[in-house]
Amino acid sequence: MSRLPKRDLNHTEAGPLLSPGEMQVDLSLLAGQRINQFMGEAIRYWQYIGQSGLALSVIILFLLGLIYYDQLLAGIPNWWPLGITYAIIFTWLCFRTPQRHFIEEADLIFLTPREREMTNYFNKTCLYNLTLQMAGLVVVLILLYPVYRDLVQGVSQPGWAYFLLPIVLKGWNYYTHWSTLKMVEGNIRYTYHLLRLGYTFGLLLWWFEKGPWWFIIGFGLAGIAFLMFDWYLTRDRHYPWLALLELEKKQRSRFYSFCQAFVDVPHSQPQVKRRAWLAPLVSRLPFKQEAAIRYLYLKTWLRSRDHFGLFVRLTVLGSLGIYLLKDVWGQGLLYVLILFTTGIQLRGIKSEHQHHLWFQLFPVQDRLRKQSVQWLVRRLLTLQAVLLAAALWVSADSFPLTFLICLVALVAIHLVYSR
């Protein structure tokens, strides 16, 4: 990571742009302004997403979870290592500390000369990040508490510690991540991340696997030592402006492309993964004008982080839920719900492409453009319907029933997406 070259800009040379008086950016207010602006935008997008049917699905899923909670619990096999599972889930939640500091391109010129006055700004953005991430963590803690209480909790372990420990660890992870960002040397930063990951997992594993109590002394001391050493190493370093800008862009584009999966977002930049192992799927398309738009839709879908990722997640979650539920009505409802949500989400593909220059210029009939998106959605939903049916078959052990549900779903999909 290269350091920003120190420009000749400073208070005096920056001239009228940064001169004292009304032109000067009020740094104490800037963070708040930027956060509010983004929140305003985010709320609007969430409203759109809510209208797209996602909110309904989430509520129904939640209710399903409540109703069938006992069955879900009974569905977990005895040999399943719950303690380790909990440790992994919360390690992931505590270790992942995305950094959003609302840095803009122009800041590299206008704010870098005033770096010394930026402490307040970054305190505010850090607080913003931490609050959001803590909220997420607490929600998961609450959701997973019943299972923990019934199946994992040790006799001598107090309930409040289940909540406190991950929260403290999250704070610790956030602070250490934030300060190691200032380290320019990539490999040292990488080592620190590994240490941080190891520590987090070790401590959580100790807790969920009910290790000897005196381990906490060692963990506590190690944690404090790490914190102090980290502070000592990075206390005089510059803010990592370029890295912060990159992180900001990444986070922002993740947010937009998540929204893009449901609603039309102008200027969103998709995040891309190559996924070479999926290439054979596309190479089966004929090299013909009629297949060009299919090629485009399929290839961009397979490479997209969010569309593809959401599809896989919904399918996996759906299969797991269907497998764990033992009630056929619940299974049927979940089956329909997953297909419905995926269908809504896949609609985003169309809006994502239609304003693209090349998409508009290709000498291809509009009819083909429309048919191609239907073709892709139909294929994907068919695939999902079959996969979910497989989970149903394993769980319900009734071939006629599975066959019937799957058949109805496939007919419905082909009716809806045939035009």
């Binding site: 090299f287 290839k299 490479r303 220059l357 291809v364 009939q365």
Partner: protein, 251 residues
């Protein structure tokens, strides 16, 4: 002989109420390169958007080989290829896949594609990067991708919007060489540019747009004669024209 591209008194813009270009008329014939010249905001890109069929003229008529956009949009679009000013690409597709997609969309056979693609990759020195994503490219390399996509199709008409900015000298030479080759084989080129020396060296005729209207058009000799400056370069003629225009007090 029927012109490849013909604009006949075209008036249009982005909104109903305000016309950006007014009464634009010019032609591009097979075998020639026509330069579209004008200041920033003169209406060059707006004219091009009308030709592409992205904007509909409020008045007047645009035809490519006698065909209007509304008559048959697919056929109309297949008659030209376009090199945009700012590279536009799919983040999810590699360079090779862009070319493949382009070939498919324009109805090339696989054998045609394979025959044409390799010389292009070599000419623009992008062979080693064919499996890379354009996001990792510099501006010039992205521009080369746009150029290769356009040449792959081998249409009758090339519409080129300010292609030289960001290209390295070898890239510029390759681009101009290929454009010349294409015109030798009967294609026509409309090229909008600010680089007047290059335009003078490579273009057969010049259309000067100023504030949405055609100020003057013709070959270099015709422009010299019109401006009363025999032997003057395109640069000199153009600057004189603009200065003369700017001297007129606003009405």
């Amino acid at each position: 002989m029927q012109p490849l591209l013909k604009l006949d008194n075209v008036t249009g813009g982005y909104t109903r109420s305000k016309a950006v270009i007014k009464d634009i008329s010019f032609e591009v014939h097979a075998g020639e390169i026509v330069a579209l010249i004008g200041l920033n905001g003169a209406g060059k890109s707006t004219t091009i958007k009308h030709i592409l069929g992205l904007l509909t003229p409020r008045q007047g008529k645009i035809t490519i080989e006698g065909l209007q956009f509304a008559d048959n949009p697919e056929r109309y679009r297949s008659l030209y290829s376009y090199i945009p000013e700012t590279p536009v690409y799919y983040e999810e597709l590699t360079l090779w896949e862009h070319l493949e997609l382009m070939a498919m969309a324009y109805g090339l056979k696989r054998s045609q594609f394979e025959e044409r693609v390799q010389p292009l990759l070599e000419e623009f020195r992008m062979d080693k990067r064919k499996n890379h994503f354009p996001t990792q490219f510099s501006k010039g390399m992205k521009q080369k991708l746009m150029i290769m996509m356009a040449f792959l199709v081998q249409p009758r008409l090339y519409i080129v919007d300010e292609p030289l900015l960001g290209l390295d000298p070898l890239g510029i030479r390759s681009l101009l060489r290929w454009l010349k080759n294409c015109t030798a084989q009967g294609a026509g080129v409309l090229m909008s540019t600010h680089i007047l020396s290059t335009a003078e060296a490579y273009c057969d005729r010049f259309v000067v747009i100023h504030e949405g209207r055609i100020k003057v058009q013709g070959t270099l000799a015709e422009l010299q004669q019109l401006s009363g400056r025999p032997g003057a370069s395109l640069d000199e003629i153009y600057l004189a024209l603009i200065e003369e225009e700017e001297d007129v007090p606003p009405t």
